[in-house]
């Protein structure tokens, strides 16, 4: 048992490179190089699709439980122990439901919209650095790619609202467009602020640069301000409460996905949760050191204990912490109004972000972060 644990620990948690290399070696010895490369990517794709589905299911369950505990109730309890298989039952129900298309909807765009949203989310997910070398797609413009890809999702939402031929959906889609385009600025600017410290766009290098300490601790005040701004803007970008105006259940019934049912609705639903996960991934990568353990100066014993906890667990722990924050917002705050939402971004967050960027440049210039 202990041997198995230490083997798994070594292979998966500490250094995934040998395992990945052995899989590649096996592929190359059994297939021609072209096929081996292709099958390798198919394998990665399958794994990430699995991660997407599992993440969606787990996060829906977690969200419901967190919401329940905020609301003095228990949440799903009946299906499986502690209701753990409730979301699987829900997923099966959604699969079996009739996918209704409204009569006057633009059929092609209506059916295309959910795929836009899901594809954008999946492309972003491919960059997730779960641990050292546990990353499918580690390109040198990683952060830029993430921002670019995650803003494609809004096209899907706009299409969904337009093609549904429903006035509520259209209002929801227009709100979503205004909201995501505005908050993209804050997300981008708070990351640009951090780029002055990380000096790289590649996610793995950003994490490596935090070897001596997480940026949120070493980056002084501007890093912390950037973190807060990023979490706020990120919450807005995922259309979650208190910024859930595109859905706004009590105003627009369900906003842009009012007309969707069955699996197509599930796509929007899962994409929202995985988007939340991606925001948490970026926050934990850039600000909280990704899979880096927490170290305290010269406390060797403490640091050794922290090192013992595997990297992927550190990473997931940080991600869960930020997602919990976002759930906390959602289940506590009332919703903003559309003009207040835009005022918040353009009159408060954006100027603050710009000032913060200048401050960070000053910090870097004075080399206080080293």
């Amino acid at each position: 048992m202990r041997a198995a644990w230490s083997f798994a620990r070594q292979q998966l948690f500490e250094n995934a490179l040998p395992m990945i290399e052995s899989i590649e070696y096996w592929l190359h010895t059994h297939f021609s190089p072209a096929w081996a490369g292709f099958l390798g990517w198919v394998l990665v794709g399958a794994v990430y699709l699995g991660i997407f589905a599992i993440l969606g299911l787990v996060l829906v369950y977690v969200e419901r439980k967190v919401a329940a505990f905020f609301q003095l109730r228990l949440g799903p309890m009946r299906v499986g122990p502690w209701g753990t298989t409730q979301t699987i039952a829900d997923a099966i129900k959604l699969l079996l439901k009739e996918p209704v298309t409204p009569d006057k909807a633009d059929r092609f765009l209506y059916n295309l919209a959910p795929f836009f949203v899901v594809t954008a989310t999946l492309m972003a997910l491919a960059l997730t650095p779960f641990g050292k070398h546990l990353q499918a797609f580690d390109i040198d413009i990683g952060l830029f790619f993430l921002l670019a890809v995650s803003s494609v999702g809004v096209v899907g939402i706009l299409l969904a609202g337009w093609a549904s031929d429903n006035k509520y959906s259209l209002i929801g889609a227009m709100r979503s467009g205004a909201q995501i385009v505005s908050y993209e600025l804050s997300v981008g600017l708070s990351l640009v602020t951090m780029l002055l410290l990380t000096e790289s766009l590649q996610l793995s290098e950003i994490i490596e640069s935090q070897q001596a300490g997480w940026w949120i601790f070493r980056g002084h005040v501007p890093a912390f301000v950037a973190f807060v701004l990023f979490v706020i803007a990120g919450t807005a970008e995922t259309n979650r409460g208190p910024f859930d105006l595109p859905e706004a259940e009590s105003e627009l019934t369900a906003g842009f996905h009012t007309e969707y049912s069955g699996l197509k609705f599930a796509f929007f639903f899962l994409a929202e949760f995985v988007n939340m996960f991606m925001i948490a991934v970026v926050a934990s990568t850039v600000f909280l050191g990704g899979w880096m353990p927490f170290h305290l100066g010269d406390w060797a014993a403490f640091n050794a204990v922290m090192d013992f906890i595997p990297g992927p667990l550190w990473f997931l722990g940080k991600v869960v912490f930020i997602m919990f924050l976002m759930m906390w917002f959602k289940w506590t705050f009332p919703r903003l109004r559309i003009d207040q939402l835009l005022t918040l971004e353009w009159k408060y967050l954006l100027p603050l972000n710009l000032a913060n960027l200048v401050l960070m440049a000053f910090v870097v210039l004075m080399k206080w972060h080293l």
């Binding site: 919401a67 609301q71 003095l72 105006l245 105003e251 705050f333 009332p334 919703r335 207040q340």
Partner: protein, 383 residues
């Protein structure tokens, strides 16, 4: 083959100051919509997100209760009133009973009077708790709904023990109460008051002091005192505009003349004032219950009345203060066992039709906020 619908008349073209050409459009809000709280249909004319006109359509839950009253005996009428404003059922029961007692010139025992007052205030608390929860939910803070229900549950349990029902009570009968209170009544009510005194500040911490909530309600949907009077608005909605209209003060009934409480009067008249008025009213209700709960006089719980009540010829009117405002019962009797004509003056009806006046020019999100501060209960409006 789909039948081609004739085109509607062209929507008006709006010339905006920045030269942008836009068209107004119609949206049907309801009768099935999460925040119309029942089957209210609002036909909205919207320009972008700004509301140009609101046309409330009611009648989806009309059950002709007033007509049914002409068929029923006075004892039967009482239970119909439960089905109107189901959140103020004790008060509605009381209004009919008071009208009948007034006509019969019957003096109700002190015990029944005090218990009626306590029940009315508990009902008011339960109604305001539910309203508070729903108000938060309309603004997107879903958690408040469960908090409101947690405390309302205790009141419902007290009612269940008292009269066996949780929603449609039918407990107050002409001449007093249907039967005496449960031995646990005082103990449980006191426990509730203790519990809720601790929980009410939590309501403020969770919602009232939230900056987003303040921004969403302050200065939105202002109702002036003159308009409140002109539209016939009553209850906390009118008192938030400074219109003193509390029937409990103006024409005290039951035990309201001997308890010390304040009529909540606010000046602002905006959504937040209407919200605050209800929160403050909950404190006053607690105060009334505290004064009465230890002083329920011993004695009979009802006076003997005839099995089939026949009112003398004439017209009788009685009004009470329900959780939503002034509820009136107007009976025209021709001396038979059922009324010749009976009219209910429901507070929700007048309160609903101030909506267009308040929400014109506001955003869709504001409309939802304003509507929930009016605290509409559709069965009360349609009857």
């Amino acid at each position: 083959m789909k039948e081609q619908q004739p085109p509607l008349e062209e929507p008006p073209v709006v010339e905006n100051p920045d030269g942008l050409r836009t068209e107004e459009y119609f949206v049907n809000m309801g009768p099935q919509h999460p925040s119309t709280h029942g089957v209210l249909q609002l036909v909205l004319t919207i320009n972008g997100e700004t509301i140009v006109n609101i046309e409330p359509h009611i009648g989806y839950i009309h059950r002709s209760i007033e007509k049914m009253c002409e068929r029923d005996t006075y004892r039967q009428i009482v239970h119909l009133t439960d089905r109107m404003d189901y959140l103020s059922c004790h008060m509605n029961n009381e209004a009919v009973c008071l009208a009948v007692e007034k006509a019969l010139e019957v003096e109700v025992p002190e015990r029944a009077k005090v218990v009626r007052t306590i029940l009315s205030e508990l009902t008011r608390l339960a109604s305001h708790q539910l309203w508070w929860g729903v108000m938060g939910m309309d603004l997107g803070a879903i958690t408040t709904f469960l908090y409101g229900f947690r405390d309302r549950e205790m009141i419902n349990d007290i009612f269940e023990e008292t009269c066996g029902a949780r929603l449609t009570m039918n407990y107050i009968a002409p001449g007093g109460l249907m039967y005496d209170i449960h031995p646990n009544f005082q103990r449980r009510t006191k426990a509730f008051v203790e519990h809720f005194k601790k929980k009410l500040p939590e309501y403020d911490r969770l919602l009232s002091d939230n900056i987003i909530f303040r921004k969403r309600t302050e200065g939105i949907g202002i109702l002036s005192k003159e308009d409140a009077i002109a539209f016939g608005v009553t209850g906390p909605t009118a008192r938030a505009s400074g219109f003193s209209c509390d029937v409990r003060k103006k024409q005290p009934y039951s035990a309201y003349d001997r308890v010390d409480f304040e009529e909540i009067l606010l000046e602002a008249g905006d959504s937040f004032a209407r919200y605050k008025a209800r929160i403050l009213e909950m404190w006053e209700s607690l105060k009334i219950i505290e004064q009465l709960i230890d002083n329920i006089p011993e004695g009979e719980h009802q006076v003997k009345t005839r099995q089939v009540i026949k009112l003398p010829k004439g017209e009788f009117y009685q009004r009470v203060e329900t959780a939503r405002g002034e509820f009136g019962v107007y009976i025209i009797s021709d001396g038979k066992k059922s009324p010749y004509r009976l009219k209910f003056r429901s507070p929700g009806f007048s309160n609903l039709f101030v909506l267009n006046h308040l929400a014109k020019g506001a955003k869709i999100a504001d409309l939802v906020a304003i509507m929930s501060t009016l605290d509409l209960v559709m069965p009360d409006i349609d009857r």
